[in-house]
């Protein structure tokens, strides 16, 4: 799976948990998952579990602590699948 495919799959998962479609109109890779996409911390757990299932990886506590932006989520996966 290449970088573009990973990004696309990560964004698909994030989109499952955004309640307002318009947050994606201004979203960039540097957008904060909680602040900009308005995803709460409980749903962040769902996102981590979805990412683990989708990519068959384990995301440990240290990695979870570092997932702040969309780019962080993508990088967490890239570091584990490549």
């Amino acid at each position: 799976m290449n970088a573009e495919e990973i990004k696309s799959e990560v964004i698909l998962i994030l989109k499952k948990y955004t309640r307002k479609e318009e947050v994606w109109e201004t979203a960039t890779d540097d957008s904060s998952i909680m602040e900009d996409l308005k995803i709460n911390s409980a749903r962040l757990v769902d996102i981590v579990l979805d990412l683990e299932d989708r990519f068959d990886v384990e995301i440990d506590d240290e990695a979870i602590d570092n997932i702040i932006t969309i780019k962080d989520a993508i990088q967490a996966i890239e570091a584990r699948v490549t």
Binding site: N40, A42, V45, D46, V48, L49, D61, E62, D65, I67
Partner: protein, 175 residues
């Protein structure tokens, strides 16, 4: 002194994924918490009780200047009076929580000092000011955390907001 709170709307479909409770427990809980919650008649409800305490404790810790983190398993709930009160441990720090659990929501309030006085308001409303007492407003303090501002005297008190589904809450220190 610091205060945090968290509310979970138990009617929200996102909070009713019973099939995920083992994964939640594995990802967010220390072993004693996992062991306890998976032995409960309603493991998901038990998980959300632990979760609200962890989230409320996290908000209080941030007010105290602790660094940000995301992994809920770093906070450990000492289970003595389930769904009523608990102590929460983090890096040698002990915080004190009280909870209210109903069929509709679980709400927990955590303070840094067991003697700290506090008040809270909780409302089933989407109106953002429904919980704010008359004569006060909520704004961001210098450190970026919410403060309850007396609009006449400009006096500020530490406070914490939470919102999930149709529930919102506001808690503030009185001491």
């Amino acid at each position: 002194m610091a205060i945090g709170n968290d509310i979970v709307d138990l009617r929200l479909p996102d909070n009713r994924k019973h099939e995920r409770v083992h994964a939640y427990a594995q990802k967010c809980c220390a072993w004693p918490e996992r062991s306890w919650l998976l032995s409960q008649p309603d493991p998901l409800g038990a998980f959300w009780w632990l979760w609200t305490l962890k989230e409320a404790a996290y908000k209080a810790l941030r007010q105290l200047g602790y660094p940000a983190f995301q992994a809920a398993s770093r906070l450990v709930v000492e289970i003595a009076n389930p769904f009523e009160s608990a102590r929460i441990h983090y890096a040698g720090m002990v915080l004190h929580g009280t909870s209210e659990a109903t069929e509709d929501y679980i709400h927990s309030i955590v303070v840094s000092d067991a003697k700290l006085g506090y008040m809270y308001r909780l409302a089933p409303s989407t109106h953002s000011t429904a919980c704010v007492p008359n004569g006060y407003s909520v704004s961001k303090g210098p450190a970026g955390f919410p403060v309850l501002l007396n609009t006449e005297t400009n006096a500020q008190q530490a406070c914490s907001k939470s919102h999930d589904g149709k529930w919102q809450s506001l808690v503030w220190c009185t001491g």
